[in-house]
Amino acid sequence: MSAAAAMAGRRGWTHGLRLLTVLLVLLGAGFPLYWMFVTSLTPSAALFAVPPHVWPSWSELGVYTEAFRTIPVGRWLRNSAVIAAGTTVLSIALAIFPAYALSRFQFRGAGLVGLGLFATQMLPEAMLVVPLYAIFGQFGLLNTLAGLILANTAFTVPVITWMLKGAIDGVPIDVEEAAKIDGCTRIGIVLSIVLPLVAPSLAAAAVISFFHGWNEYVLATTLISDEALRPASVGLASFVGELSTPVHSVMAVGLIYTVPAVVFYLFVQRYVVAGMTAGSVKG
């Protein structure tokens, strides 16, 4: 066999192996979600069958309509969406200018600010929830979605700032110079020139803050007591009852809660890839 053909043969074999491995990885990644789906549709008695039922019993699909009928899932999801969207908007709004400043300016305290941003990132919600509760009480922010958004943002904005800073680092300064000559204010430059250029990082920032708002549990449990304002994370956890847990509803609601986040992510993910590392790869 010629050397080229041998190499082609080897490549073909490696290619097949690669495909197989990818398939296995995807199987591992997707299985638990699939299992959530199957469990939600498994009749109660069959839950304890050995071997476990692998295929969903499509006849049980009524669990989902039942869930929407008897459980305020729609309201939970709406609240989660408001919290997540609010967290995203506020985080990005707060992060843009500091990110720019940290990237473009050398000023006293820059290092301290950077360190501070990271340090606060490591504070868990559980630690700050009690003082936050007191502060919110004083400002009348308790039991409001706005209050929860303000609290969540405090935990995401440092990461967002750092990410945007890295992205802005990668934008050549000449673009700005030209605009400055044209008479643009610094603020104008940031908003109309720099921002569009770091769109991928903005997308990544949006994803991170959206997920944080969507998934957050500890603060939501404490700061929101009104059932009408409850987000899905708290709603789902509230299912784990003292006496018995309706497994099907739990799994069904869990899946309903997961799907929007996954769908949102699948839409935005190509920007995330670009945005994650823009600026930090200095090849």
Binding site: S44, F48, L229
Partner: protein
């Protein structure tokens, strides 16, 4: 060039303002109704939750000045969520507490004494009421009290209820076959409250007590016997190890579990889920009849701004009609006042009688004299018991260690 910024900020402010309005507050259109909130775990339960909401709605429909809004909170977080809110000066007006949390709330003066409110009502409270008195004052009424007895599936246990502990263990072993387990209890820290309840039953059943009112007695002979018995069952192979209570209760009504010791509320759920299963109750198979009991008091938040409305609701709830309905929906538990069961009820569900008969033998699942410290003692005891169960530690040494650590801890 500055325009985008201003517009940008304006939109942000507007959206925050909109969000600041709590969504979906009921419109106070028809007259000004006083709204009071009532937090409890039961509202989240499948089955009982809806019935309890309907019961509360009965009050709302009976008059038009006050509306009671139920707030369901998950068992794991109710106390802390409510306490955090109370600490901040707010919180629900009415709270159905767990017994341990009740004492903590009393100690922190978070709930109101009820003696004045109850004075003119001539209510016949159940025996459980005496356990709610702290320094002679009652800070709650028993919303729900529920005893523990042994439940078994007569279709799987043809030889009838066990007579004593050895008989019980033998029957459990005999009944454990392919896919069917003889008995189940909780033995994981993730289910700490339930683990504690189950352990209490074993310890009390063998004559042990956590304290004598003045000193901790965690290493007294009765306690050690109870722990040893727990270990015997754990090692016997009859347990579906690792199954949490929600799972093994489901197993029971699916015919995969033969026996379990559980409270009246659960008995009602099991019966509801499997109406054709022959559910039989008998006294727990221990040397003494004493078992623990769930006692969930209904309390009034000291921060409440609607004391009159709350009092009205509380008094309504103690009337014979609402009490009867409440007891019916609770299952095999009891409400605050003595409500006779109807002959039809007793015939349809004979296990109700066993639960009622257990009342005189029930004591709270607390550390007497150290009620507020119960969570810490609980953690210490359960950790040591876990060492016995999983690390092979000797029960006496484990409980000696528990006594040592706990005694030091409660003095702090």
């Amino acid at each position: 060039m500055v325009q985008p910024t201003r517009r940008h900020l304006g939109a942000l402010a507007a959206s925050l303002a909109i969000l600041g309005r709590p969504l979906a507050r009921p419109a106070l259109a028809q007259g000004v109704k006083e709204i009071i909130t009532f937090a409890g775990v039961t509202f989240t339960e499948a089955g009982r939750g809806d019935k309890l909401r309907a019961w509360v709605d009965g009050f709302n429909k009976s008059q038009d000045r006050i509306e009671v809004q139920p707030i369901g909170m998950p068992f794991a977080t109710l106390a802390n969520t409510v306490f955090t809110q109370m600490g901040g000066g707010a919180g629900p007006d009415l709270v159905r507490f767990d017994q341990i949390d009740y004492y903590a709330a009393v100690a922190a003066r978070r709930i109101l004494p009820l003696d004045e409110i109850l004075a003119d009502g001539h209510y016949t409270f159940t025996a459980a009421m005496k356990y709610l008195k702290v320094d002679g004052k009652a800070y709650g009424v028993p919303f729900e009290s529920s005893n523990y007895v042994l439940l078994h599936n007569a279709a799987l246990l043809k030889s009838g209820a066990p007579a004593n502990f050895d008989d019980f263990l033998a029957k459990a072993k005999a009944a454990t076959t392919d896919g069917v387990y003889g008995f189940a209890f909780r033995a994981t820290m993730a289910e700490r409250p339930g683990f504690w309840q189950d352990l209490c039953n074993f310890v009390f059943g063998f004559g042990g007590r956590w304290s004598d009112g003045k000193e901790l007695t965690l290493n007294s002979p009765g306690v050690i016997e109870g722990v040893s018995a727990y270990k015997r069952v754990y090692d016997s192979g009859v347990l579906p190890k690792g199954a949490d209570a929600a799972t093994y209760r489901r197993m029971f009504w699916e015919g995969k579990l033969v026996m379990e010791i559980d409270n009246g509320g659960v008995a009602a759920i099991l019966n509801q889920q499997a109406p054709t299963m022959p559910l039989v109750a008998s006294f727990s198979p221990f040397p003494t009849r004493t078992q623990g009991a769930i006692l969930a008091p209904l309390t009034i938040n000291a921060n409440t701004k609607n004391k009159a409305a709350v009092t009205t609701f509380l008094k309504w709830s103690l009337q014979p009609g609402p009490q009867r309905e409440l007891q019916a929906l609770l299952g095999a538990g009891n409400a605050a006042t003595v409500v006779e069961r109807t002959p039809e009820e007793l015939q349809a569900r004979p296990w109700l009688k066993v639960y009622d008969d257990q009342t005189s033998n029930s004591i709270p699942q607390l550390v007497e004299g150290f009620e507020i410290k119960t969570p810490e003692v609980q953690q210490i005891v359960l950790e040591q018991v876990l060492r016995v169960l999983q690390a092979g530690q000797d029960p006496k040494r484990a409980m000696d260690e528990a006594q040592r650590i706990a005694a030091a801890r409660v003095k702090r």
